[in-house]
Symmetry: C2
Subunit: 153 residues, 2 copies
Amino acid sequence: MDIDPPGKLRHFHADYRWDEVAEHPYKEEGSAPFRAIARQVLFSAPELASELRYFEMAAGGYSTLERHQHAHAVMILRGHGHCLLGDTVRAVQPFDLVSIPAWTWHQFRATQGEPLGFLCMVNRDRDKPQLPTEQQLAALAANPEIAAFLAGG
Amino acid sequence: MDIDPPGKLRHFHADYRWDEVAEHPYKEEGSAPFRAIARQVLFSAPELASELRYFEMAAGGYSTLERHQHAHAVMILRGHGHCLLGDTVRAVQPFDLVSIPAWTWHQFRATQGEPLGFLCMVNRDRDKPQLPTEQQLAALAANPEIAAFLAGG
């Protein structure tokens, strides 16, 4: 169940699952490139203007490289890894905060041989993500640091 | 600074502080009863429909007992404690999720001899909290479990 019932406590379990929260494959359509990542919606309700989701990648996994109008507010919850944030690659660790503004290319990668999990707050009403064109991807990869990141380094 | 700049990584520090995030006393006006609690605003920006705040109480501290129209979506981040949620008292521990609907009395208490910290997602536009009247407080305390909670037990 993704909609949280009123006045409820849902306990956390050591495997990063929560009472009454379903785990979903990251994207059902399969058209976007991603690997070994799952989504759990922790809070979603009509009276909340935003949703809070938990995404977790297995070691070596990664989220889709994408951008969109809506902003993301991310807190790392589990593990170490890296993220592409615009034209920079940054190392992240638990409880770090990542602000992803409109139209900023971003991707998370579990680069450190352990799962990487993060909270993502996002407006309830939002646009769909865009994937990079071949030209846009080549422009990103012209930066050697980003090329190494995209190659899983 | 409470407004997060665009495309930014802000690191977490072991004392539950973050780069560029100011720590505020819980409420400046001093009219509401609370103890040993501080607030840090992790994400607040015009493009985000909600804010994400971190509240932390020292051992023995507590938040204001209050209710309001707006809902809270809470995740415990640090320590163990208890919360009043409507007409029940619940034990909470890290990463537990607490849904606080409209007009539900709530209070958090660091009852276990350690700090209790939690994330709270809240709509950017929201109403002001109400405090209980003496009659409402007496009605709550008619429940022995709640009376013990309010007495700091």
